[in-house]
Amino acid sequence: MLSVDLAARKLGLRPGIPVAKAQALYPDLVLMDADPEGDRLGLEKLALWFQHRIAPIVAVDAPDGLVLDTTGTDHLHGGELPMLKDMIHRMAGAGFRARAVVADTWGSAHAIARYGRAPIAVVPSGKTASALADLPIEALRLPHTIVEGLATLGVSRIGPLAAMPRAPLALRFGPDVARRLDQAFGRIGEAIVPVRPVDPVEVSRNFAEPIGAAETIARYIGKLVPLLCQGLDERGQGVRRLDLLLHRVDSRTEAIRVATAMPVRDTKRLTRLLCEKIETINPGFGIERMVLIASLAEPMDRRQTVSSLIAEEEADVSDLIDTLANRVGTQALYRFTPVESDLPERSFCRVPALAPEETKNWPDHWPRPTRLLARPEPVQAMAELPDQPPLFFIWRGVRRKVKCADGPERVFGEWWKNDAELTIARDYFRVEDTSGERFWLYRAGDGEHGETGSQGWFLHGIFG
């Protein structure tokens, strides 16, 4: 028997015992044929999924594991421990019991994941040796014969094995023992050869006569895209990144790349995105081959839409977002989202236009100006101390007499972000001048204590 499930394990069955014996003990045992090939394929699929979700470098650690190089990616998942928990949780959701360990080396992570106590562990950098010392030597990825040989010598743990002199071991068991030890302790490197995604959906077309006119290119884009979409449709995928390679007769290659915010399989939309970029192509003496590759494709499910009986569905703007993003750049397309900060310039941040909607909102205690100046502009003002609004102020050379004002709204520095802000305070006033224009002024400081600011006046925003 190669493997047993939890219930069988409770009955006392272990991998390795003959089937006949197990059946003699428990006649109603459910047996299934092992499918090593299927397991390997499944594991590869899982590796691709991990590559897609967690880290770019993922390899199969046959027969029952995956190895990931998560360097520089753990922060995207909230740290190493949350990342491991998330992985285990997802695996559990798919019906697998899994163990995950972060360690310095492939060898040590392999050993601790299989023979360590906790199902989830993060081995701190530099603690590898102590973490490995108590583990059995089976954990070292050594051939079965060597493990048995070492057992007859009375060595069963990694710690004592590592302390033994190398030369006699190498003489008796070959170089494997030393190599595996060094790999586990990080003394020699071990490359992780990542799995490669399955061949991308790709369509191409050769031309008998080189083409060059923009209309001709557009026409052939119109012919290639439906073929690509057909290929994507067969796989149930949508394209996130699409590359069009144009091989010129002088053996140079021109490329167009378009990206979409969500998986797309719509012929019209992709054709339009590509055709908008035609003017960036230099066809030279002509193009003899066009290749269209879906370099990043993601699964795309048909979703059930809201029935108009319940609520009117909001129009989908993702195609517009893609068109605009390919024109002005993704960075230039955004929404504002609230940030919890009293300082106006820190109270918002930009998020991608199609980011999930948040429920937070800005507090609504005070009116806020329509326009916020990028940097507060210093103004000359005269005001009664400590907390009266200015009587007049001079901004951009114009003297304005204040007719009425609201305030002060005191804002304190964020000492938890910056030590220098510990004592800082600002007093905001909304003032209206005699002509009816309304401005947002603040005094740097509370008007009483010198350490709270320069006590100078600044104009920060303009009200409608």
Binding site: T370, L372, L373, A405
Partner: protein, 254 residues
């Protein structure tokens, strides 16, 4: 049949002929009313036409800041349904203020274009899409050709397009006199706020000038700025207040 009804019938046939010539007679014209009788009454169709381009500029110093003009447009956009595309060249919109006139940050997608040409291209793209509640663009120069393209794009998709005319220098603001293909043209200037019996700033007031309206007349209104849902209102002193009047009558009679 009186002379009055004759005149009315004549006008009706004339209007029908004009709209047939303009080529959009088959499309149902819809409007977005302001909800203020005095303003809606002056606009053909009883509100701001959807599927059309409108121009808004600030008056006085606001031609440079577009604070009041921006707030006015945010108020209009807040009363539409669906996402709002807001195209700028220099970003100084303070998002919390939009929320205070009812335009949630979740609905507003900003596009920061590098030039006026890009702004117009994105503007047209947004109008053509048709799934947006409103498309607002801050633009300085708007030629007849460009505005006609935008107007056509808006007409075909039925989207509401608002061009906020915003200049860098006061001298350039004379550009607002040049003809464009927009359906209405507004100027918003700030006025002193409603006086309060206590120290403080009252509800802001604007002078709203309807400088041009296709098939309508010019008008100007003194209004109170957008409230939390983007609605304008007339100052209480100017509005005729039938209910109060009646209440006063009742009180006098009692």
């Amino acid at each position: 049949m009186t002379a009055e009804t004759h005149k009315k019938l004549g006008l009706e046939t004339l209007r029908a002929a004009i709209s047939r010539l303009e080529g959009h007679s088959d499309r149902r014209r819809t409007v977005l009313p302001f909800g203020v009788r005095e303003i809606d009454g002056r606009l053909p169709g009883g509100g701001l036409a959807l599927g059309a381009l409108h121009e808004v500029a600030g008056g006085g110093n606001d031609a440079l800041h577009s604070a009041a003009a921006g707030q006015f447009c945010a108020g209009i956009a807040a009363r539409t349904r669906g996402k709002v595309l807001w195209i700028v060249t220099r970003q100084d919109v303070f998002a919390p203020s939009m929320k205070q006139v009812g335009l949630s940050a979740r609905r507003t997608i900003f596009v920061e274009a590098s030039s006026d040409v890009d702004v117009l291209a994105c503007f047209e793209e947004g109008l053509r899409h048709g799934g947006l509640g409103a498309v607002v663009a801050e633009v300085a120069r708007l030629s007849m050709t460009a505005s006609r393209r935008l107007q056509l794009a808006a007409e075909t998709s039925g989207s509401l397009g608002i061009a906020i005319r915003r200049w860098r220098r006061q001298t350039e603001a004379a550009d607002f006199g040049q003809p464009t293909a927009s359906v209405t043209r507004w100027r918003v200037s700030v006025l002193p706020s409603a006086p309060l019996p206590v120290p403080g700033v009252g509800r802001p007031r604007w002078l709203l000038e309807l400088i041009r309206a296709r098939a309508g007349e010019c008008a100007d209104f003194e209004v109170e700025a957008c409230d939390g849902k983007g609605r304008l209102s007339l100052p209480a002193a100017l509005a005729d207040r039938p209910d109060q009047e009646a209440a006063g009558q009742r009180r006098a009679n009692a």
